[in-house]
Structure formats: structure tokens, C-alpha cells
């Protein structure tokens, strides 16, 4: 008998099952119904994209400084161009905007450091971001110290204000959320019910009524004569609202840690705060990061509501610019620009959270 002791080399796959045509056939034209659906989809795409591209790019105006420069039929990006500084800095005095730029640059650097997994000293950078950076940012933006001219919060606006609201709301809400979540899991009945009522109350009401409440009722609650800054009122409302959502994210993370961890730590004689701070929370935090990013995205979108109580965030300032009598009729351009800015922020954050979810999914 003849034995072939060597493995035969593997044959290439059949021609019909590889290559772009095979892919097209399998994914787009696998049957009559599928082919029809694909053609309908292509037509829909054509019907949507052609006029959009034509309007936004081909027939658009880019250069100029006044409404008279909008000569062609498409979009007039001149409007956005002329107002860009206002959209980013609000009514901040233009000779002082370098201060905001420094804050932006610092913030981007810190966040990038935290977001890139390979870089070391994460803990120190996180501590700096949470505790040192806000002070620097406040001193730079508000001024009044070190010879920097004071810029009152009424002049803050645009993208700057949107970021301030979202970041401050988030950073302030995180510790409150952790406390509330721990309280909700506590065995002490009064502490638990207080936390449950607090969380469900703020989660049940729409942010708009909370902002109304903060702007109308907060002054009533304070001693006569104490005047609270309008920005602070909005921040208080946003923080309370956000902390309730954060508490639920933290609770989810805490529930994912098996009880054995806490029991083992207790067996080693650790106190409650040591068990939480050193054993349970660090592990839970890993699980919570995607959830935290997701609530941050919804907070970021929700900051637009502050325009209803009279603050000029990015959407608010665009809306105000649209009613300028010199620039009438550029609504679509204004909204498309704003939508684009928000979309870039939210989309990249949601992609980052998906990436983290995959990275942190280490299994067991």
C-alpha cells in the first residue's frame, strides 16, 4: 500500500466564494428580494446624499465676512465663520480668550493622558484632573487673581459654557453618586430609604423642571440678601440630577463584584471604608467606566437645556445669532454646524466607551 506521509498543501478557496464579487453576491444580491431591497437602499442613499453634498459642499460659500458674500445656491458657511469666536467663547472679551485656550489645552492633555491606556501615573493624573485642574481653570477663566482681569460668569458662553457645565456637573456628581450608591446598599434602614428617595426623586423628574426649580426656588431657599449666580444655580440643578443617575451606574458596578470580595476583606479585619475604598470600589470602577462615559454623553447633550433658563451655551448662542437681523435665514447652517459639533463629541465618546468595554471585558 502506498501511504502519502506528507500533508497535501491546502487548496485555494473556490473562485466563487472569495473576492469582491462573491462578497457582493453574499451580502447584497443573495436573492430576488434581497436584490430589490439593495436597489431600494441605494436609491434612498442617492436621494438623501446628492442634494446634501451639493448643498453643503459643492454649491456652498466659504469665504467672506458679510451676508452679501452668500451668492451661490447652497449653504453659506460664512455665517458660521463670522460668528465662530462667539460660538466658542460666548461673550468672553476677545483679548482674554487666551485664558480659555490654555484651559482647553490643559484639559485636552489631561484627558488624553487618562484615555490612552499605555501612559503611566494614571492615579496622579486623575487626582490632578479632579482636584488641581478645576482650581487652575477657575482662576484662569474667572480671573480676579494674579492681576488677571475679572470676567463675570454672565459673559461665559458658547462651547466653553457647554463644556464647563458638563465637566463640572460630572465631576461634582461622581462623589455624590458613590455616596448615594453605597447608601442605597447599606443595611441601615434610614440611610437606605433616604438614598432611595433622593435617587428616585431626581431621576423621575425631567431636567427642565429641575432647572426651573433651581433657577426659581433656589433663591427662595437661601437667606434674604444672598444672591446666587445664575451659572451656579444651573450647576446645582445639573449636579443633583446627574448624581442620581451616577448613583445607579455605581450601584450597577458594585453589584457586579461578588460578595466574596467584601467578605474576604472583612475576614482580614478591614473596616467598612477600607473594604470599600481598597477592595470593592477599585474593582467596581473598572466595570463602571463605560456606564460613566454613557451618562456623561447624555449629560453633555442635556446641557443644551440651560438655554431655557437664559444661559447661552453653544445651542443658546447659535439660536441668539440666528435672530440677528443682519443674518436672517441661516437657520439650517447654524443648526447643522451645532449638530456637527455635538455629534463629533458624542460619537467619539461613545466609540471610546465601546472600545473600553471590549478592553475591560477580560473574562474570568
Amino acid at each position: 500500500m502506498i501511504h502519502n506521509r506528507e500533508m497535501l498543501p491546502s487548496q485555494p478557496a473556490p473562485r466563487r466564494s472569495i473576492g469582491p464579487f462573491a462578497w457582493l453576491k453574499a451580502n447584497l444580491f443573495s436573492g430576488p428580494v434581497n436584490t430589490l431591497v439593495t436597489l431600494a437602499g441605494l436609491y434612498l442613499l442617492y436621494w438623501l446624499l446628492t442634494p446634501t453634498i451639493q448643498w453643503a459642499f459643492i454649491e456652498a460659500d466659504w469665504q467672506g465676512a458679510s451676508p452679501d458674500d452668500c451668492t451661490s445656491a447652497g449653504a453659506c458657511w460664512v455665517f458660521v465663520n463670522a460668528r465662530l469666536d462667539q460660538f466658542i467663547y460666548g461673550l468672553y472679551p476677545s483679548e482674554e480668550t487666551w485664558r480659555i485656550n490654555i484651559v482647553f489645552a490643559l484639559f485636552t492633555a489631561l484627558i488624553a493622558w487618562l484615555a490612552i491606556p499605555r501612559l503611566p501615573y494614571k492615579r496622579w493624573i486623575a487626582i490632578i484632573t479632579l482636584f488641581v485642574f478645576p482650581v487652575i481653570a477657575y482662576v484662569l477663566m474667572h480671573g480676579g487673581y494674579f492681576g488677571l482681569p475679572r470676567v463675570s460668569t454672565q459673559r461665559w458662553g458658547g462651547l466653553t459654557l457647554t463644556l464647563v457645565l458638563a465637566v463640572v456637573g460630572m465631576v461634582a456628581a461622581l462623589p455624590i453618586g458613590v455616596i448615594l450608591a453605597l447608601g442605597r446598599r447599606s443595611t441601615m434602614p434610614i440611610i437606605r430609604s433616604v438614598c432611595v428617595i433622593f435617587i428616585e426623586f431626581w431621576r423621575g423628574a425631567p431636567l427642565i423642571t429641575i432647572l426651573f426649580m433651581a433657577s426659581v426656588m433656589l433663591p427662595l431657599f437661601m437667606p434674604t440678601g444672598v444672591d446666587i449666580d445664575r451659572l451656579i444655580r444651573a450647576l446645582v440643578g445639573i449636579t443633583l440630577f446627574q448624581s442620581a443617575y451616577m448613583a445607579e451606574v455605581v450601584r450597577g458596578g458594585l453589584q457586579a463584584i461578588p460578595n466574596g470580595q467584601d467578605e474576604a476583606a472583612a475576614a482580614l479585619g478591614m473596616s467598612y471604608w477600607k473594604r470599600m475604598g481598597l477592595i470593592v470600589l477599585p474593582q467596581a470602577l473598572k466595570m463602571m467606566i463605560p456606564g460613566i462615559v454613557n451618562t456623561f454623553i447624555s449629560l453633555f447633550k442635556d446641557t443644551t437645556l440651560v438655554m431655557i433658563i437664559g444661559l447661552f451655551d453653544l445651542l443658546g448662542i447659535v439660536q441668539a445669532a440666528l435672530s440677528d437681523s443682519r443674518w436672517l435665514g441661516f437657520d439650517v447652517e447654524g443648526y447643522v454646524f451645532t449638530a456637527f459639533v455635538f455629534w463629533i463629541f458624542c460619537f467619539s465618546m461613545s466609540r471610546y466607551s465601546q472600545y473600553l468595554e471590549r478592553r475591560l471585558h477580560t473574562g474570568h
Partner: protein
Amino acid sequence: MSIRPQTQPTGPKPPFWRDRAKRALLAQCLLLAALAAIVLFIIDNTQDNLASRGITTGLGFLDDTAGFGIGQTLIDYSSDSTYGRTFIVGLLNTLLVSGLGVLAATLVGFTVGIARLSSNWLVARLASGYIEVFRNIPLLLQIFFWYFAVLQSLPSTRESMSLGEAIFLNIRGLYLPKPQFLSGFGSIPIAIVVAIAASIGLIIWNRRRHAATGKRLPAIWLSLAIIIGLPLLVLVITGIPVTWELPELGGFNFSGGITIIPELLALWLALSIYTASFIAEIVRSGIQAISHGQTEAALALSIPKKLVLRLVIIPQAMRVIVPPLTSQYLNLTKNSSLATAIGYPDLVSVFAGTTLNQTGQAIEVIAMTMAVYLTISLLISMFMNWFNARMALVER
């Protein structure tokens, strides 16, 4: 190592801060005391502030005349009506837009979510494009876009777009024909009720018969035929006692018919499109959460492929889908409060907005508004708990 016998700790009793039960009691007492202090501080300040502004507290203002008109009301309302009636009008408008939004968002969301899982590459891409675009743009911006950029650029009343001279669309809103019920129409609702009762009976009977004998009728289709057929039959027998009142252009505006104001239209579009993108993701992950083994096991039992989806996959996927779905419905209801930004007369707009400004009764107005939303959210979470309890996996 030898095992020492456990001995009771001797010596003086440990101080109270080392006793866990006493420490817990102390912590809770401290919390209560702190809360009481805060509440007292707030009440004290509020009383001072209200006194200095000359505002009297209480719900008496609800009986005062409101003195302002509302653009869209589901019940009779005029500027002579009371603030109490304003509250009801606003509440009904909120419920109207939320109900419409829930319907449309569910429809679009399920379609897009299933399309996202399509084996057709282009369809799946289009669906995920829809989700990514609309999920990442703030809702308020979308409302503004529909209201200011799209609906405000519609033609004027004289150049309305029309569909068969019955439906008109212009800058003032959407005009639909209104059904006018003639005498004898009363039998139609009765026919509908009878048809629904009959089909429920049919389904129950069919289920029992199926369990007992293994035979069954296509009850879903039969009951659908009864529900549609019986009222139609009655309609024909009674000689179709319905006429349509068409909207007509007279002077500067349309009269007659049903008017859907552009604020409602913009809010409804934005709410349903935005929420649908979240529902689509919920539907997709719900279907994907069912392991493939379920399908394979069902096929191995030679259950027909058509029934596998209906009897195996969907019932299990619904268990995953329904809780986040209800919380999206709740979100939609809460988000409908953004109406106030474009002036749709919802609860927040007419009550927490206009009424509050006119009366200055901040505490009562905000408390009533919050109470409405909290009640809705409580009802929804009660439903969710009931559903979870009913649907929870019965494990061995």
C-alpha cells in the same frame, strides 16, 4: 498549632463607638438631624422670602381666572378658565404628544433595530447610520431643527401643499379632514367592543382546544378579521353614517377639519426620531442576547423556521427588551417637557411657565409639575416590576 478554646473577651465592655449596632444607630440619628436642620433652614428662609415678596402660599390660586389663551386644547378652554383648568389642559397635551411619540418611536425603533441585524449589508449599514446620527445629537437641537428650519420654511397659507384637496400642509400646521358622525353611528363603537370580546373569547377557546387536542385554528388572523370585519359590516348596514368635513381656505386661514399645530408636529417628529434610535439599539441587543443555541435547539426539534422566531426567540428577547424599553418611554415622556422651548402648550410650558410667571406661586406650581412626572415614573416602574416578576426565569 493547637486550637485554643474560644474565650469570651474579658475586661471592661468595649466603648460604644466600637459597637457596630450602636454606631449604626448613631450614624442614622446624625443623618436625620442633619436633614431636619437643612429642611428647617430652607423652610425658615422660604417663609421670610415669601413674606418679603408678598406671596401667599396655598393652592387657592387654582380657582383664579387664568386670563391667557392656549393654542391647542383637548378640552374646552378659554381665557376665562381657571388655573386649575390650565393644569389639566397642559397635562392632557403632554400625554397626547407622549402617546403619539411612543407609538411612532416604537414602530420606527423596532423596524430600524431589526434592519440593523439584516443579512443585507447595505440595510444594516443604513440602519446603524440612522442610529449613530440621531442618537448623538441633542434632542433640543433636533426639535429646533424641525421647528425653525423645516416647518417654518413651509409655504404660506395661500400656497399650501395639498394632497387630494383633503390634506393641507403649510406654515400654520397640518390640516386633516374631520369625521362628522351622523345619527346611527353609535352602533359602531358597540360593534367594535363586541368584536374585541369575541376575538378574545376565540383566542382563549383556541388555546384550550390546542392544549387538549393539539388542533388549532389560525386564531390571530381570525380575530383580526372579526375586529376589522364586524364594524365594517355594521358601517355598511347602517348606510355609512359618517361624512368628512374638509378643511377649507377662507380669508387668511383654513377653517374646519382637524388642525395639527406645527409645534406639535415638530415635537412629535423630534421625539419619535430621537427615541427610536435608542429603541433600535435596545431591540438589536435584545435579539442578540438570545444565544444561538436556542435557534439550533429549536431547529433540532424540527420546529419550523417560521415558528422558531415567534415561539422561541421573540418571547425570550422580549424579556430583555421590555425593561429598557419602558424606561425609554419614560424618557420620552420626560423629554416632552422640552415643548416649552418652542411653545407647544404642554404641562411645563403652560403651567410651570406661564402660570408660574403670572402668579409667582413657585413652590406650589413646581411641586405639582414634579408630582405629575413622579407619578408617571412611579406607574411605569410599577409596571416594570410587575413585568419582571412575571417574566423572571424560573430557575430550578
